[in-house]
């Protein structure tokens, strides 16, 4: 008499692995639909740093308009863990990766710089929410954010603007003034 629990778990593992393997070769409609229904990212995509390895840091910057004049760009900077200790503890990686996740999600939905589709994306709204939540000076009337990619090439530093948001009115935004 077979142990039905064992047969059941074996079937679950075979199906889970098969869907995982399918997700690697073809992230198409079927796997996208499955991923939507299966919670907690249980269908993995194992392509670490490939095919396009991270060769630049994504930085989120924003500026505020006050009295008709724009202030300087400021960065939502969470810092980087020191090289001597990050092999053990690296909490900064989680926050930097979170920003990078939102940025790559935003850039995926933006076919062209002038396309306004991106404004409706959850990544755009989330990034906007992040900068609006930052402390700001009193009397700010609007805000704008941008994504800047930076990389070191030999001794030089390369900076590239990857995305610039629209200007957003702050009239009804809750105040986190400083």
């Amino acid at each position: 008499m077979p142990d039905f629990r064992l047969v059941g778990i074996a079937a679950v593992f075979v199906a889970w692995w098969a869907v995982s393997a399918l997700n690697q070769v073809h992230s198409g409609a079927l796997t996208v639909r499955l991923r939507r229904h299966i919670p907690l990212n249980l269908i993995p995509l194992w392509t670490f740093f490939a095919p396009n390895p991270a060769r630049a840091d994504s930085r989120l910057v924003w500026r505020e308009e006050r009295g008709g004049e724009w202030g300087a760009w400021r960065e939502l900077h969470v810092g980087f863990a020191p090289a001597r200790s990050r092999w053990l503890l690296n909490p900064e990686l989680i926050q930097n990766k979170a920003v990078a996740d939102l940025v790559s999600s935003l850039l995926r939905v933006r076919p062209a710089m002038r396309d306004r589709t991106a404004l409706l994306s959850s990544a755009y709204v989330s990034l906007l929410n992040l900068v609006v939540a930052q402390p700001r000076r009193t009397g700010c009337s609007s805000i704008q954010f941008a994504v800047v990619r930076t990389a070191r090439a030999s001794a030089a530093r390369r900076v590239e603007v990857a995305f610039v948001s629209e200007v957003h009115d702050l009239a009804n935004a809750p105040a986190h003034v400083r």
């Binding site: 778990i9 490939a50 092999w87 989680i94």
Partner: protein, 264 residues
């Protein structure tokens, strides 16, 4: 790792969970109302997703997150001490499954492949328990974990081999030139010696693509491939700050080992 719970290597994964708890404890303010992982930000992020994602992402303040991560750290330490064969270890592993699931869904973004593998292993253990937790069920669990690890390395290797950046040997210099994953000294060294970068890129590609044979090769080759994995992950931790990968992936090598032994 489930079939041989007495092995210390079977508990490495739970060291990673303690480390995750310490890291999120340092970030606990980011889960407050004005933080990066605030409920309002995550409500916006998950607005168009399924109901379970939306509810999980907005459930609990930073205090709830703190409680979950403390529970996870304590439970993971019990597993490290007792193993997944003892009753206390089994119960603690289930607590890790619940807290880790909560922390994942509550954070949504900023996760890594190491975290994903860790959670897959915890869910696998939950299924093993549902199936009775017998030796056969544990061996099945080990087989599934081994299959996921083999898939992970193989796909990653093929994906790198398909990339001109990796094939031409420019990937390591590029990655190590970033501030997030980089080390300026090593990046400069590789930049000055492109052949070394190319050698490193092809070594990683070759090892990752070859990894599946670990399940069927003679023991000496298997040990060499697993040792290569340890060196690879420790190097990535030291050079790139990918600190969770050695605990997650090397922690699964016990499952790879026991599955390979079964296939002999």
């Amino acid at each position: 790792m489930f079939a041989n719970p007495e092995l210390l290597i079977s508990r490495l994964l739970f060291v990673g969970l303690v480390i995750e708890s310490l890291e999120i404890f340092q970030l606990r303010r980011a889960f407050a109302d004005d933080g990066m992982f605030s409920r309002s930000t995550l409500a916006l992020l998950t607005a168009g997703t399924r109901w379970h994602m939306r509810i999980g992402a907005t459930m609990g303040t930073s205090a709830a997150v703190t409680v979950a991560l403390v529970a996870q750290a304590v439970a993971a330490m019990v597993v490290i001490a007792a193993g997944t064969g003892a009753r206390a270890g089994i119960l603690s592993a289930v607590i890790c499954l619940i807290t880790n699931g909560y922390l994942r869904v509550r954070r949504q973004i900023g996760g890594s492949g190491a975290e994903q593998l860790t959670f897959i292993v915890l869910v696998t253990f939950g299924l093993v328990l549902i199936a009775g937790g017998s030796d056969d069920a544990r061996r099945l669990g080990d087989g599934f974990v081994a299959a996921q690890v083999v898939l992970a390395y193989f796909v990653s290797g093929v994906s790198k081999a398909a990339s001109p950046i990796w094939r031409q040997g420019e990937a390591m210099t590029g990655i190590l030139s970033t501030e997030g994953y980089g080390l300026p000294g090593i990046a400069a060294l590789l930049s000055a010696h492109p052949a070394l970068d190319k050698l490193l890129c092809w070594t990683v590609i070759g090892w990752e693509i070859a990894f599946p044979v670990v399940l069927i090769t003679p023991e000496a080759v298997m040990i060499a491939l697993l040792a290569g994995g340890v060196i690879f992950h420790v190097s990535c931790a030291v050079l790139m700050g990918l600190n969770r990968f050695p605990w997650a992936f090397c922690g699964c090598y016990a499952a790879v080992w026991s599955t390979a032994m079964l296939l002999r």
